[in-house]
């Protein structure tokens, strides 16, 4: 019998679950021999209230040694699922950047979420007079939280999506009762692009024209995208996305936007990036939308509605 494992997803997109599948053929022995999956809405039919939906009011997830949760916490049902998972699982893993730092849905933390959620039901295509649903659907919390703001988390695997190799490593390490070997550096530290010194760059460009590179030559022959004048968040982003040597976005010849979150678990990518730009003599006011530098790490109070933020600064 394998190690009992439960999977859950909260405010998420299922990209983390596809990343698990992308472990590929090695996943077959993991799910058939090493693990005994007892609950996982995306692939199996275990239900919260009994298999016929007529057992009790309290949501029930079976006990498991390992719990893996993707997504952040943004409504009261997520909260209930998260607390049940913590109660039933010995080791709880936060999978993906939504779970570790809020991820893209936490962009909502930067604005008045109640008004925004209302407006979603009053668009150019919705029926006149429609209002936000409020019957039997979960209630939204005041903002989107990372998992460790609500319960104790034993292991963080960031990334949007997380790297399949790291998911497999984390599982195997747990089975072998050792610490997993995971990256600790920044995207920049692991990037093969050529650095020639900062040169004349003193503002950052929007990515509306392609980088300069020779498509017939490897990434190591392309000049660093920051040095080419693009906003690239490699210096302030945790490494881990690389699957074939170069960071994933750099492989597509596109600058990094920080999807693995801050290098230190609770760092602030915006402050770190502003420092990185300033210390290189680049005017950070040339960044068009500075708040979206926090687009993957808006939990932990990093993104707040503008008005509130202004008051606190005053």
């Amino acid at each position: 019998m394998g190690v009992t494992t439960a999977l859950e997803w909260l405010s998420s997109c299922s990209g983390c679950e596809i990343a698990i599948l992308n472990i590929g053929e090695d996943l077959v022995p993991i799910i058939t021999e090493h693990l005994d999956i007892v609950h996982a809405p995306v692939i199996m039919d275990h239900k919260y209230y009994g298999q016929c939906g007529d057992e009790g009011e309290h949501l029930n997830i079976p006990e498991a040694v390992v719990g893996i949760i993707s997504g952040g916490v943004s409504n009261d049902e997520h909260m209930e699922v998260l607390e049940e998972m913590r109660k039933k699982c010995k080791v709880l893993i936060a999978l993906g950047s939504c779970a570790t730092q809020g991820g893209i849905p936490a962009l909502m933390n930067g604005q008045d979420s109640a008004a925004s959620f209302d407006e979603i039901y009053q668009t150019s295509s919705t029926d006149a007079g429609a209002t936000r649903p409020d019957e039997v659907v979960p209630k939204m919390l005041d903002r989107t939280y990372a998992l460790d703001e609500k319960v104790k988390i034993d292991l963080r695997l960031p990334g949007c999506p997380p790297n399949p190799a790291h998911i497999a490593e984390a599982i195997m390490a747990l089975l072998e009762n050792r610490d997993p070997v995971l990256p600790t550096k920044s995207v920049c530290d692991t990037c093969p692009t050529k650095r020639e010194g900062k040169g004349a760059v003193n503002t950052v460009k929007r990515f509306v024209e392609n980088a300069v590179f020779d498509p017939d030559k490897p990434i190591s022959e392309m000049r660093c995208l920051l040095e080419q004048g693009y906003m690239c968040m490699g210096p302030v982003t945790a490494a881990g996305c690389a699957k074939r040597g170069a960071p994933s976005c750099i492989e597509a010849r596109v600058p990094c936007r920080g999807c693995f979150g801050s290098v230190r678990p609770h760092g602030n990518q915006l402050l770190d990036m502003m420092n990185a730009l300033a210390s290189n003599g680049i005017d950070f006011t040339s960044v068009v939308d500075r708040r979206s530098i926090q687009r993957f790490s808006g939990a932990h109070g990093n993104l707040r509605p503008k008005k509130v933020a202004a008051k606190e600064e005053a």
């Binding site: 997109c13 299922s14 990209g15 679950e17 596809i18 990343a19 599948l21 992308n22 590929g24 053929e25 077959v28 799910i31 058939t32 809405p41 692939i43 199996m44 039919d45 239900k47 919260y48 209230y49 298999q51 016929c52 939906g53 409504n75 893209i104 849905p105 962009l107 909502m108 604005q111 925004s116 959620f117 668009t123 295509s125 919705t126 029926d127 429609a130 649903p133 039997v136 659907v137 949007c160 999506p161 929007r206 990515f207 509306v208 024209e209 392609n210 590179f213 498509p215 996305c241 699957k243 994933s248 976005c249 597509a252 010849r253 596109v254 936007r257 999807c259 068009v288 939308d289 979206s292």
Partner: protein, 450 residues
């Protein structure tokens, strides 16, 4: 006093939903609904963002179909900035769109839906899943795992990221394709085409013929359909074309995606976060009444197969002819979504090969000149789960002023509710129900691949 069955979570689907079945005093179905439980707010939190960044934010709407959001968003941004992608940029985008459809269909049919058919709808929940399939049919399962992985890694190797892609950009594409990449992709796609022909044969022999009774009854409703067809000859299209809105009687109107607001509206119910699109242009309002639905049409595979005049590739056309001879046009049986899905799988492979053989595919002129500006753009294409619409307006600085999204799955929320009610009413009588019966109710949802 009646009783409420609370089937939660709905499983082997992408996302958070619950089915509630209301039983009356004698144990018969009074009402049955599917509630969508999640709300994230993409339309609002992309406001203020530089438009060229949005295609790499909205891909997070869905981790299974991130390419479609990425590409529809890029089309919308092109519209805002009044830029036409270079011919190669345009074709590379379509290539990634059809390639991404390939592994999506393998994933849905074999990983999510197949357990119901391979192990049987009434089998115990603990084995009725992909792990059970691996144990029951190891050879098939190993092949399926390999093929899905191959499709996913083709995207990953060429475009850097298969999940939450970044390689399409306003004006075209971020990098050209090299000849060595083209040759390798061509070889891999041939493997996938062979597999897709096998998959349809397998399903015809082991699923569609075996479960004919279930197919002709479970979740069956009568509705209209929405899809995309070629502007010139009405052929099946998933990247670019005109929209076709068909009534249940087979009559239809064609329109350009940019005019969607004249044809589609969104109804809101107080008990589900999912908005429910309907055919506003039919001027009959919205009703999910089973005997007399109003404004209800369906999207996704069966809809696309119904609205097209023919498939634009040979093997897929052969499959369509056989399908139409058996089930007519438009076909209404809900479980035929699975059959249509496998016809689309063949098309996606064939179209990928066509595009890889297009003479300009390795040209290096992949991105047109782009200037951020004020404007409006509507990007429309076919996501696996239905017609996807991204509609943006930008300010003078090229940042998003407002956005409206109609996401593929949502077209089918009304119809899924109807199929759930139809299935529950037919299957639950006099208070008799069990996990197998309730799983069949879920199968009516699963066919739509929400």
């Amino acid at each position: 006093m009646g009783k409420i069955l609370n089937i939660q979570p709905v499983t082997r689907i992408e996302g958070h939903a619950r089915i509630t079945v209301h039983l009356d005093e004698s144990g018969n179905v009074e009402d049955a609904r599917m509630n969508l439980m999640s709300l994230r707010g993409f339309e609002k939190f992309i406001e203020g963002r530089p438009a060229e960044e949005v295609p790499r934010i909205v891909n997070r709407i869905c981790g299974i179909c991130p390419w479609m959001h990425h590409l529809a968003s890029n089309k919308a941004v092109d519209g805002c900035f009044d830029v036409t992608p270079t011919p190669t940029g345009h074709k590379l985008r379509e290539l990634l769109q059809v390639m991404a459809h390939i592994n999506d269909k393998i994933l849905h049919f074999f990983f999510l839906a197949a357990p119901d058919f391979v192990l049987g709808p009434d089998s115990d929940y603990s084995v009725r899943n992909v792990i059970g399939v691996v144990k029951a049919a190891p050879e098939l399962a190993t092949q399926v795992v390999k093929m899905r992985q191959l499709g996913q890694m083709m995207l990953d190797r060429f475009a850097g990221k298969a999940i939450h892609p970044i390689a399409a950009v306003t004006g075209g594409f971020s990098k050209p394709m090299r000849e060595a990449e083209r040759v390798e992709l061509l070889k891999d796609t041939q493997t996938l085409l062979d597999f897709s022909l096998f998959a349809l044969d397998f399903a015809k022999n082991n699923v569609f013929s075996k479960y004919l009774d279930v197919i002709s009854e479970l979740g069956v409703i009568k509705t209209g359909f929405l899809g995309t067809v070629d502007r010139a000859d009405g052929s099946f299209r998933i990247y670019d074309g005109k929209q076709r809105l068909m009534k249940a009687d087979g009559s239809y109107v064609d329109f350009e995606g940019v005019d969607y607001l004249d044809y589609l509206g969104e109804h809101v119910e107080s008990w589900s976060y999912g908005k429910m699109p309907y055919a506003k242009s039919w001027n009959e309002g919205f009703s999910m009444d089973l005997s007399e639905p109003k404004g209800i049409y369906r999207a996704n595979t069966l809809a696309r197969i119904n609205v097209c005049d023919q498939m634009a590739t040979p093997k897929a056309q052969e499959a369509l002819e056989e399908f139409r001879a058996a089930f007519g046009r438009p076909a209404q049986a809900t479980l035929l979504y699975h059959y249509a899905r496998l016809i689309e799988l063949i098309y996606a492979c064939e179209r990928t090969i066509e595009l890889l053989n297009w003479e300009g595919i390795t040209d290096t002129d992949v991105r047109a000149k782009v200037t951020p500006q004020a404007g409006r753009g509507v990007g429309v294409l076919e996501a696996p789960r239905g017609t996807l619409i991204h509609d943006y307006t930008t300010d003078a600085n090229g940042c998003i002023e407002s956005a409206n999204l109609i996401v593929g799955t949502t077209h089918n929320i009304g119809p899924m509710n109807m199929s759930v009610k139809q299935a529950a009413t037919a299957l639950i009588k006099d208070g008799v129900y069990d996990q197998g019966i309730l799983n069949k109710v879920e199968m009516a949802v699963r066919a739509y691949d929400p």
